[in-house]
């Protein structure tokens, strides 16, 4: 269903929808999805749909750096967990803060780390940049594991309220609604970038950095914008996690699943447009959630891995790329 809505939105894009109108379409789509999930009337539907939408945000965030500028970030869990653990900190210090505010704070923290890492590592090209981001994930995980205030290796409990604020119903419904809202913001941002001069600058960097510089593109500045945006959205995707799982320890916050999925989903859907991560997340995330309840929960990574290998070999432009090629 999500994919149908996304496809409809994609068709509108071809007609040249303005940014504001696009946000309108996204909000309507998100509202319809929320309404439909509520109509199912089962808490599990919210839990499963939350994961899929979370991966749309995470995949979109990764794609802003990895897809648009061509810098492959393996350190997804660092940014994701910084968002999650900033919520843990806020929960301990200021538990009365509304969740959306916590998300923004988590996003800002992750964006700052993104900016810092970007400044230190963006002079590295290709695989060397990727290795540096991998190192970042390990460094952040070590720091968190040894930080007693957020539970250290033992982990931290976060009690979620029984009732959702504003909308009533279970708290999971509220979490899902917040994640949908975040998804709207992420997709609107990604699409606005694609159509702006920023997007053209990113594409120039991806294709040939020296030629981009020679054409007047301030490559370092643009790459920093990309790392900050990408890291920020990853942090925001992770910020509601403590409330979702209610018990967060480093092993689950830094789980390899997040990193693998955040890369696999845009690659499978297609990295060239905002629609790619959506298609990838709905397809892979949906399949994973289905297999989780029918076969086993451990099959997740296998699905993502096998699909990623298959797509890299058979359709390197992803699903969206397949359709674009037909059009040309």
């Amino acid at each position: 269903m999500v994919s149908l809505v996304a496809k409809a939105a994609g068709r509108e894009t071809a007609a040249g929808l303005g940014n504001v109108a696009f946000i309108g379409v996204l909000i309507v789509a998100a509202g319809a999805i929320f309404g439909a999930t509520r109509w199912i009337g089962n808490d599990y539907a919210f839990f499963a749909a939350y994961v899929v939408v979370q991966y749309i945000v995470l995949g979109t965030a990764w794609n802003i750096l990895g897809g648009y500028t061509g810098y492959v970030n393996f350190g997804i869990t660092a940014f994701f967990a910084i968002g999650a653990y900033s919520t843990v900190v806020l929960y301990k210090l200021t538990p009365w803060l509304p969740l959306p505010v916590m998300i923004v704070i988590g996003g800002v923290m992750a964006a700052l780390v993104g900016l810092g890492t970007g400044y230190l590592t963006l002079r590295l090209r290709g695989v060397f940049f990727s290795i540096a981001t991998l190192a970042l994930a390990i460094v952040v995980q070590t720091l968190i594991t040894n930080w007693d205030f957020v539970g250290g290796a033992r982990g931290a409990y976060v009690l979620r309220p029984k009732m959702a604020p504003l909308i009533g119903g279970g708290y999971i419904e509220y979490l899902f609604l917040v994640m949908l809202g975040l998804c709207v913001v992420a997709l609107a941002t990604a699409r606005a970038i694609e159509r702006s001069s920023l997007g053209f600058g990113f594409a120039a960097i991806r294709d040939d950095e020296a030629a981009a510089e020679a054409s007047g593109v301030p490559t370092l500045k643009l790459k920093l914008v990309a790392t900050a945006l990408s890291g920020g959205f990853m942090g925001m995707a992770g910020a509601p996690l403590p409330y979702y799982v209610t018990y967060l320890d480093p092993a689950s916050g830094f789980s390899l699943n997040y990193a693998v999925n955040a890369i696999a989903m845009p690659l499978i859907g297609g990295t060239s447009s905002w629609l790619g991560p959506v298609v990838g997340a709905v397809l892979v995330g949906g399949l994973q959630e289905y297999l989780r309840v029918t076969i086993a929960s451990a099959i997740n990574v296998l699905v993502a891995g096998v699909l990623m290998v298959a797509f890299v070999i058979l359709a390197p432009q992803g699903i969206v790329g397949l359709f674009q090629r037909k059009k040309r």
């Binding site: 053209f200 600058g201 120039a204 294709d207 030629a211 510089e213 020679a214 054409s215 007047g216 593109v217």
Partner: protein
């Protein structure tokens, strides 16, 4: 008249290899300068140092009254220094028109003298592609082009930045007789519009037809600079090319 480009005692080393040493070069506004030299003599390194792709260890580069040594490549492009690459480096995922859009957005618009938007950018891209006879392929991808067309695209992209000084690095290599004439006419026409041009080239017919002045680089040193007819008869230049 003060020089548009003034390269002073420029030196560049790669490890133990001295690529450029004490290179002095002045280019006057509106001039057409030819730069020749055997393979490996440092021509492209000189271009890279002038344009900021490489940093020179010694000496300095002054462009339009500004010392540009501490400026990055994109800042120099915005000042009006444009170059084409010896091996074409198009933006592979962008259409031809979009390739030219990059310097228009990031060099011309960033300069702030005039801002093009929307349809005006598209018109300008097509106009520039028309100057190199590629207008009918404006919405194709660079991979659909022949080598020759790639070189034209490379030149058009440099021109799209509205440069004061254009450095064409071997933009004619591998072209046929007629195509050389075509590019030559294009560069001369551009010069007529007030753009100073430095042409790096091996095709002597083109160099002699183009250059008002000719500089020769051999093993990282400038060994001759002056009237093209005199320079090619210079004993040292002849020795560099033909040996003893």
């Amino acid at each position: 008249m003060s020089a548009l480009l003034h390269v002073q005692r420029l030196g560049k080393r790669f490890g133990g290899f001295t690529a450029l040493q004490d290179v002095e070069l002045e280019v006057q506004p509106g001039e057409r300068l030819g730069l020749i030299g055997p393979n490996g003599s440092g021509k492209s390194t000189l271009v890279n140092c002038i344009c900021g792709t490489l940093r020179n260890e010694q000496g300095s580069v002054n462009f339009g009254g500004t010392t540009v040594d501490s400026l990055t490549a994109h800042e120099r492009t915005r000042l009006g220094l444009a170059r084409s690459f010896q091996l074409p480096r198009p933006f592979g995922s962008l259409s031809l028109a979009e390739n030219l859009r990059i310097p228009i957005l990031y060099a011309v618009n960033a300069r702030g003298e005039r801002k093009l938007s929307g349809a005006a950018i598209e018109t300008r891209c097509i106009e520039l592609l028309g100057q190199v006879n590629l207008a009918d392929k404006a919405h194709r991808l660079p991979r659909d082009l022949t080598q020759i067309e790639m070189r034209k695209l490379e030149l058009a992209r440099a021109m799209a930045a509205d440069p004061k000084l254009l450095i064409a690095d071997e933009s004619m290599a591998g072209l046929s007789h007629a195509e050389v004439d075509e590019i030559l006419a294009l560069l001369i026409r551009l010069n007529g519009q007030g753009v100073t041009v430095i042409m790096i080239e091996h095709i002597m017919r083109a160099v002699m037809a183009f250059s008002q002045r000719l500089a020769v680089l051999v093993a990282g040193r400038k060994i001759a600079d002056g009237n093209p007819k005199d320079v090619v008869r210079d004993a040292e230049v002849v020795r560099a090319y033909l040996g003893e």
